[in-house]
Amino acid sequence: MTYASAKLVMKELSRARIRKLKMELRYALILLKRSPLTLAGLIIIGTLSVIALICTIAPQILPYPEDIGSATHPELLHCPPSPEHPFGCDYLGRDVLTRVIYGTKISLYAGALVVLLGLSLGTLIGLIAGYVGGIVDDVLMRITDAFLSIPGLVLALAIAATLGRGLMNAIIALAVTWWPWYARLVRSCTLAVKNELFVLAARIMGARSIVIMLKHILPNALGPAIINATLDLGFAILALASLGFLGLGATPPTPEWGAMISEARKYLPNMWWEATFPGLMIFLAVLGFNLLGDGLRDLLDPKFRRGARVWRI
């Protein structure tokens, strides 16, 4: 291949990318039209995202913004659902509805962070393993497989316990156990792309390895991993809530759903509302991502119809 033809390949590539993007968008619209479940998922996720956004920029419009923290209202202790407090009040007399709504922001952000960190680590390892190959690939993949042979949430538990209580520590703990899937995915994509014409073209044009890796391979290898990571958000939220429930996640008074249930458990069965509503919100959020993910996976890759990868407590 000559320099000129190499250049042509590169040009054609960027055009092909745009075409592909357009086609994928069209596919997505067709899918939404055909699958009401996917649409329902999209609506749930959209609504929760808007709620999280509102909680970020204007938390004061929540019914009882002071109840987000550790305010106490002795006269409202364990008050059952009423028109003023539709979800009732908790053991400090705080409005459960306010806390549950605010919990959306915490869970969505924290889940996104877990996935983002896991994705970064996994991409780095997968990219290096796939591109360098040889013994580096062997060693990295054996380690990845070993991590996959350990139940992830249990490992996360150990890491969280070491780092100590706190939301950020729980996020780190989960991210450390979250990367192997992405590493495998990115590696296989890297292997597929590595010998493509345009990578060859870039090499002929004298690009350095690191540039080829970041500029030419990464964008192509990252796509599937990003889609997967987005759809894994539901499971990240679920795992975080589980850690919170075990006292290894967010600490009081942070209104994290799992931690709220953990606290409310002490007042069962009489004060059922304190545990019920945060749980319903977890269910709703995870269901939203799963519905969306199910539809998208069906559309994008029939392979995913088989094993679904789920973390749950």
């Binding site: 479940l37 054996r142 380690i143 070993a146 991590f147 042979s149 350990i150 139940p151 992830g152 949430l153 249990v154 490992l155 538990l157 150990a158 890491i159 316990a161 070491t162 780092l163 209580r165 539901g234 679920l238 809530a241 589980s242 429930f245 075990l246 006292g247 290894l248 799992g258 249930i261 458990r265 069962l268 069965p269 059922w272 545990a275 019920t276 945060p278 749980g279 977890i282 269910f283 995870v286 269901l287 799963n290 519905l291 199910d294 119809r305 088989r306 094993g307 679904a308 789920v310 973390w311 749950r312 407590i313």
Partner: protein
């Protein structure tokens, strides 16, 4: 060839155990600012911390410490639980049968219900049965196990009062220990009241634990059946006018069953993880509650011990599943 395969898989078990122990070593000794503080627990006295430091060999060079860690792991000295004040390994050993009884029951429920329902879905593809079951299985995967456990307890024990809320058996009814599985022991000793009581106690936690894996097994089986149904060899059976019963129960069941076997090992991981919270909610005297309580009280030696045991159980079960699969599927190349 099969022997070589099995040998390779068993070697893998040891490699994973090596990795797990090394990870726990790093977590215990390398990451914390002062490992002795973690090891002695949040309310430790000065002497207790010093004792822990000595026990962990903090005065020794790192490599020697690592060897010490391994020696202690191999000789079964996994430290003292801060909460129970007993050796962790002994605590764990005592609790394994209760957890296995619960976990296996959940797995059996998930498989016994999930495979037939999944086949039903696949066979009745795109009918209302399929749609309803699909929605249920999507919801089942999204349910937080700990919350489901609490809700089931709330409804069936506290509100309806038809099933016991906590424990493994009514006090004083425990059967003579033979296997440690109450159901099996009470059958072996012909102890009907113990059997009824332990079954009653088992229903809710087992169902709560089974829901997630059940939902996944339904989905996996459905996909596998659809895959088989699109194959040419099913057409051959139809062309030969074979009875539908034989096609379904023999040929599709086996072809679709094989992919399901591969996820059973994976499901076991979810059961083990879910076990922590379910046992905590239902006060089930097993590994999970031990670990969950250890998490809540930051009982560090107990947490690390449970993590190692659970990881070993998981990798052993998965290896067994892989080997069984190799026996079942003639196409496997070792």
């Amino acid at each position: 060839m099969l022997a070589a395969y099995i040998l390779k898989r068993v070697a893998w078990i040891f490699f994973v155990i090596f990795v797990v122990v090394t990870i726990t070593y790093v977590l215990t000794m390398v990451i914390p600012a002062n490992p002795a503080l973690l090891w002695a627990g949040p309310h430790a006295t000065k002497e207790q911390i010093e004792k822990a430091a000595k026990y962990l060999g903090l005065d020794k060079p790192p490599f020697e410490r690592y060897l010490m860690y391994w020696r202690r792991f191999l000789t079964g000295d996994w430290g003292l639980s801060i909460h129970t004040k007993r050796p962790v390994l002994a605590d764990l050993a005592k609790r394994i049968p209760a957890t296995m009884e619960l976990g296996l029951s959940a797995m059996i429920i998930a498989i016994a219900l999930g495979v037939p329902l999944g086949i039903l879905c696949g066979v009745r593809y795109e009918t209302w049965v399929d749609h309803v079951l699909r929605i249920f299985s999507l919801a089942g995967v999204a349910l937080p196990t700990f919350w489901l456990a609490i809700m089931m307890q709330l409804v069936f024990s506290y509100w309806l009062g038809i099933l016991p809320s906590t424990g493994r058996i009514d006090p004083g009814l425990a059967p003579k220990t033979i296997t440690g599985f109450y159901i099996i022991d009470s059958i072996l000793t012909n102890n009907i009241p113990a059997l009824i009581s332990s079954l009653k106690h088992l229903v809710l936690p087992a169902l709560a634990l089974a829901t997630g894996p059940l939902a996944i097994i339904v989905r996996v089986t459905r996909a596998a059946v659809l895959d088989v149904l699109s194959r040419e060899h099913v057409k051959t059976l139809l062309v030969y006018g074979m009875p539908r019963r034989v096609i379904l129960m023999k040929y599709i069941a086996k072809s679709a069953g094989l992919p399901v076997v591969t996820v059973i090992g994976l499901e076991f991981g979810y059961v083990l993880a879910g076990d922590f919270v379910v046992e905590l909610v239902f006060d089930w005297p097993g590994l999970g509650r031990y670990a969950a309580e250890a998490c809540l009280t930051l009982d560090y030696p107990a947490i690390m011990g449970t993590v190692i045991v659970v990881a070993i159980i998981y990798v052993v079960v998965n290896t067994l599943v892989d080997i069984v699969y190799a026996f079942l599927d003639p196409r496997i190349r070792y």
